[in-house]
């Protein structure tokens, strides 16, 4: 198709060709085309088939308000082709068709519409009841738009952005731009959102003359749009988000939107969340559909759609266009399209009077017949439009016109979505015929065309005024400016009288009030006859407005039609509730870019170089084991970390424990805070000593354990489990929030690294690197010492025994960690020092019966349940210890899961997996940790079991489905492994080895 050239309004570059694939063929368009305009330029008129009746559907609006032009693009279903820019090489497919959009084998459905009255699926197929499960499958198959492969991998890059503003203006038309400028002139930060790719709104495609109030600025509207857009874009206080669709407005003035990425952008779509003090909605109007028989036939489109096709994309929509309109912009479009070369046989206006006389004079000049009080009654033709029947509003006189385009609209409806989402109500205004916002929430304003203003300077002034009000919300004094602009507005034409006409005398069988859901006027009548007589109920009964367009087409027609039908002076139907998202973004946009953040310890690289298998544990990367390189003869991978364990038990090993939570708490009330959150009596910790204790929540459930060291007067150093590090400071502060205590807690987790040196030779390694006396007498078990290594590295050393051997924890500033690591490796060489990882640590501590919270506990596990009840000191009620009351209540409680140690009866059965259920005729508990103990040559583990099973020597049945061994259960492929409850610790019960 030839494009119109040299129009000032064009947004295409005819020199730059792009092509896309559709129906196996290549279609060529130009830079600036949307997918819909590119296909339209190539003669495509049928874009899709409708949901229920498979009626052909074509281009109707250009803003994606209905499902007519939803297509599958590059595997993504339901893409809004009207506002998706065409890109080179796109692959486009029609949806909801069996065959093609032109030749759809499901088209016979249209003939069956009589069999499908509103709510038919609620009513039929239910008797006999056995039919329904069969029918539901068929209905589900026929329902829904678009298909997606479960294996589909969503292409593109998705981002998110969280800007702050003082004023956010929704809508980049003349009113929105003026509002943004007015607020920005006050020095406020303004964000301007525009759904179309560029600013301009209703000015952007019109060449009607603009005359400013002062009379000194005269130019076509499209030029005025560029003038305003340049001011906006050049203003340092205004940030413009173009091609950005508002999705929601939330309390506290949070606006959510998504932005469609252009070719130069780094994102396909991005989520935009704006926090603002004040909001201005200047969203303008859309054309309210005129209802008549076959009102959605390809060839029927909104006058604005026909106008923009020609002016923005240089495409004349057809040869001959009949206009049936109810607003001045429709007359303007008819005049302009006539000038651009279309034949206009007539313009019918539902209004008897009230038209702009200048426009009527222009029509007369072009000898276009103008019918007052007439409207389209029926569109006829096959897949495409052939003729239109116009009629007087009462249907008495009718006339047929041959045409291939019918530009039809009943009038305008304001786009009130952002306002209603913000909490405004809607009230019918009989002057404008609009549902206008009432009870506007604080700091929310409306401006421009959506309030009914049509005279351009009035639109602009109303925008400026709203921008000033918004500035006032931000604390700027604007009284004088407001008074000035209000006076100016009073002299300008106010909101125009609008049409509330919906439809002429039609049967309604093929008069579609909602395109997406194939809902006709007849369906609406049926719903009302059934007693569903308000728009909200009609919507649910007929599903009108529930499709992808979310009320874009039926929006304000439905309540107007209901009001007409109710014949009651009291009836005041309102549009159905608008909900977010106003325009649907991709789910991928909500998922955003996945920022996978993880931390490395200061000696990460050393461990990786030593063959450590690094894996994610919470936010950290940690070495699970080092075994793969430790057995040169046996290359097979040893997941049990046997060599690491044996080396610690016999020689000495080192573990990077830097992920431990580490805190300093100090100040004169530090002890009070410790007494509040730890269950033990922390006043018994003397200087230079440590205490192992635990924290509970108010339910008495254990949440953390660790060691508290008293370093000095009112100065403590404490460790927490890795997973709790992020919560600990908050926890302390929360539980002392009502107190005026003077203490400070500092998170040192990342500032300090920790190396655990463990094994019978540990002391001999330590003696080599420090001058301090570290003999058993000078540095006994459970003691804390500060010394330096090689006279440089300040070390906080703790003698502990988590893995059950002589063992030290060295806490050093993170920057010294690599040096200390290397010093230990070097000093330990002669004693056979080796790395050990989490797997070895976990097995060894389990042999000692030491718990890891999270492994041996769950949400409901109390301190008593895991056998740590002895830590609780009940003699400090004045401390109001967190969880103490619950510990008292649950101490003797029956029916709880208790932690027990067990030994399997037959080691040859293999090792049950962690988490395996313990069951007899029902589930009685589960395995927490279970390993083969190389030290003891038996399979041992810890389990949480019902208290009845906790007695020593009780036989536990462990249910497994690993198919290895055990006793087969009858009639199934599952096995039971059996174990006996035994006392803990399993290894070195007297604890001699760690106290060597």
């Amino acid at each position: 198709m030839n494009r119109l050239k040299n129009l000032p309004t064009l947004q295409i570059d005819p020199e730059k060709k792009i092509s896309l694939r559709y129906k196996g063929k290549s279609y060529e368009g130009v830079q600036g085309d949307t997918i819909a305009t590119l296909l339209y330029a190539n003669g495509i008129r049928v874009f899709a088939r409708s949901l229920k009746y498979h009626r052909p559907r074509g281009l109707y609006s250009l803003d994606g308000e209905c499902s007519n032009t939803l297509m599958e693009v590059d595997g993504i279903p339901n893409v809004r082709c009207e506002n998706t820019p065409a890109r080179e090489g796109m692959n486009v497919k029609a949806q909801n068709v069996l065959g093609s959009a032109d030749r759809d084998f499901m088209a016979f459905m249209d003939k069956m519409s009589r069999a499908m009255p509103a709510g038919f699926y609620y009513k039929i197929f239910h008797k006999p009841a056995s039919v329904w499960p069969l029918v539901i499958k068929r209905i589900r198959k026929a329902a829904g738009l678009g298909k997606m492969s479960p294996d589909f991998d969503m292409p593109g890059a998705y981002d998110e952005i969280y800007p702050r503003a003082d004023v956010c203006v929704v809508g980049g038309g003349p009113a929105g731009m003026c509002a943004a400028l007015a607020a920005a002139e006050q020095g406020l930060r303004v964000i301007l959102l525009e759904a179309r790719p560029r600013l301009g709104g209703s000015y952007d495609y019109r060449c009607t003359q603009y005359h400013s109030v002062s009379g000194d600025r005269n130019m076509p509207l499209c030029q005025r749009a560029r003038e305003l857009a340049e001011q906006v874009e050049a203003h340092p206080c205004i940030r413009v988000f173009a091609h950005t669709f508002l999705t929601g407005v939330y309390g506290g003035h949070v606006l959510t939107a998504f932005q469609q990425g252009g070719e130069a952008d780094h994102f396909t779509q991005r989520y935009v969340e704006i926090r603002t003090e004040s909001m201005v909605a200047a969203t303008g109007c859309t054309e309210r559909p005129l209802l008549f028989e076959n009102n959605e036939k390809p060839g029927v489109m909104q006058p604005g759609c026909a106008h923009r096709l020609a002016r923005t994309w240089g495409l004349l929509p057809g040869k001959t266009a009949v206009f049936s309109i109810g607003h001045d912009a429709g007359i303007e479009a008819a005049i302009d399209l006539s000038d651009l070369g279309m034949e206009i046989p007539c313009v019918a206006d539902v209004r008897e009077d009230g038209q702009d006389p200048l426009l009527l004079a222009e029509l007369e000049k072009r000898q276009i017949p103008f019918y007052r009080g007439w409207a389209a009654l029926c569109a006829e033709g096959g897949k495409n439009l052939k003729k239109v029947c116009l009629s007087t509003l009462n249907g008495k006189h009718q006339k047929n016109f041959a045409c291939d385009i019918l530009a039809a609209a009943a009038g305008l409806s304001p786009l009130t979505g952002p306002l209603t989402l913000a909490g405004a109500g809607l009230k019918y205004d009989s002057h404008s015929g609009f549902f206008l916002p009432e009870d506007m929430p604080e700091n929310i304003h409306a401006a421009g065309h959506l309030l009914g203003y049509e005279y351009p300077p009035a639109i602009e002034s109303s925008g400026t005024l709203a921008g000033l009000w918004a500035a006032a919300d931000c604390g700027v004094s604007v009284q004088n400016a407001v008074r000035e602009i209000s006076e100016e507005m009073a002299a300008l034409p106010g909101p125009l009288r609008g049409s509330k006409f919906v439809c002429g005398p039609v049967s309604g069988k093929k008069t579609f009030i909602c395109f997406d859901e194939d809902c006709t006027l007849k369906n609406t009548d049926q719903a009302m006859a059934e007693g569903f007589d308000v728009p909200e109920l009609i919507k649910r009964f007929t599903s009108a407005g529930t499709g992808p367009g979310q009320g874009g087409i039926p929006g304000h027609n439905l309540p107007l039609y209901v009001a007409l039908s109710q014949a009651s002076p009291d009836s005041s139907p309102r549009p159905t509730t608008t909900r977010s998202p106003l325009t649907p973004p991709y789910l991928a946009t909500y998922a955003g870019s996945s920022h996978d953040m993880s931390k490395r310890t200061p000696v990460h690289d050393f461990q990786a170089a030593s063959g450590g298998r690094m894996e994610r544990v919470g936010v950290w990367n940690r070495a699970r084991r080092f075994s793969q390189n430790q057995s040169p003869k046996n290359k097979s991978d040893d997941a049990t970390a046997r060599r690491e364990i044996e080396n610690v038990r016999n020689n000495v090993g080192m573990l990077d424990a830097s992920t431990l939570g580490k805190f300093r708490i100090f100040g004169q009330d530090a002890l009070k805070a410790l007494q509040r959150v730890y269950v033990s009596d922390m006043s018994r910790v003397s200087e230079g000593r440590m205490k192992y204790s635990a924290m509970c929540n108010e339910d008495g459930c254990v949440i953390d354990d660790g060691v508290v060291t008293k370093c000095g007067e009112n100065d403590y150093y404490l460790t927490t489990s890795t997973g709790r590090a992020g919560m600990t400071a908050e926890w302390f502060r929360f539980h002392s929030r009502y107190e005026k205590w003077d203490y400070h807690i500092v998170n040192l987790t990342d500032a300090y690294g920790v190396i655990n040196l463990a094994g019978p030779s540990a002391r001999r390694v330590l003696e080599k690197i420090t001058d301090a006396d570290v003999s058993h007498g000078a540095f006994p078990f459970s003691a804390y010492r500060e010394f330096s290594v090689q006279n440089v590295i300040p070390v906080r050393a703790m003698r502990l025994g988590f893995v059950g051997e002589l063992s030290y924890e060295f806490h050093v500033p993170s920057s010294f960690m690599p040096s200390l690591w290397q010093i230990l490796e070097e000093a330990g060489k002669e004693f056979g020092i080796q790395n050990f990882g989490l797997e070895a640590q976990s097995t060894m501590r389990m042999e000692k019966g030491h718990v890891i919270l999270g492994s041996e506990s769950e949400q409901r596990t109390t301190l008593h349940d895991i056998g740590l009840g002895f830590l609780w000191h009940r003699g400090k009620p004045e401390a109001k210890t967190v969880g103490a009351s619950a510990l008292a209540h649950t101490e003797k409680q029956k029916g709880r899961l208790k932690l027990v140690g067990f030994k399997t009866e037959n080691p040859a059965d293999g090792v049950p997996k962690d988490g395996a259920p313990i069951a007899d005729d029902r589930i009685r508990g589960y395995v927490c940790t279970c390993r083969y103990s190389y030290s003891l040559k038996v399979t041992i583990g810890m389990a949480l079991v019902e208290d009845e099973l906790a007695a020593e020597n009780t036989r536990l049945g462990i249910y497994t489905n690993d198919g290895f061994a055990g006793e087969a259960m009858p009639d199934s492929g599952e096995y039971m492994k059996y174990a006996r409850v035994v006392p803990m610790p399993f290894y070195d019960p007297e604890g001699k080895r760690m106290k060597m």
């Binding site: 939330y250 309390g251 506290g252 949070v254 108010e698 908050e730 502060r733 929360f734 107190e739």
Partner: protein, 81 residues
């Protein structure tokens, strides 16, 4: 998390940065009071769940770490004075 919250130290920030700490129920009662399981349950688990303005605790977890009270309209989900 559409609520924006005014931290006494850092000023007005977006809700994502904060952790909710429950309704303001006053300081914890003495242990002798909480020895009664019903009183303990009332204090620990029962809430007013007011539809309207309530006083509640928030922690600026991604900021200064302070716990503080605000009044929030639970219907509109906005901070009020």
């Amino acid at each position: 998390m559409s609520v924006s919250i005014t931290c006494p130290v850092c000023g007005k920030r977006k809700g994502y940065e904060f952790r909710f700490g429950g309704e303001d129920k006053g300081a914890k009662p003495e242990e002798s009071v909480l020895a009664d399981p019903a009183a303990w349950c009332d204090y620990v688990h029962m809430n007013e769940c007011r539809a309207g303005v309530q006083k509640e605790w928030w922690c600026h977890k991604d900021g200064c770490g302070t716990w503080f009270c605000i009044k929030r309209d639970t219907v509109k989900n906005i901070e009020v004075k």
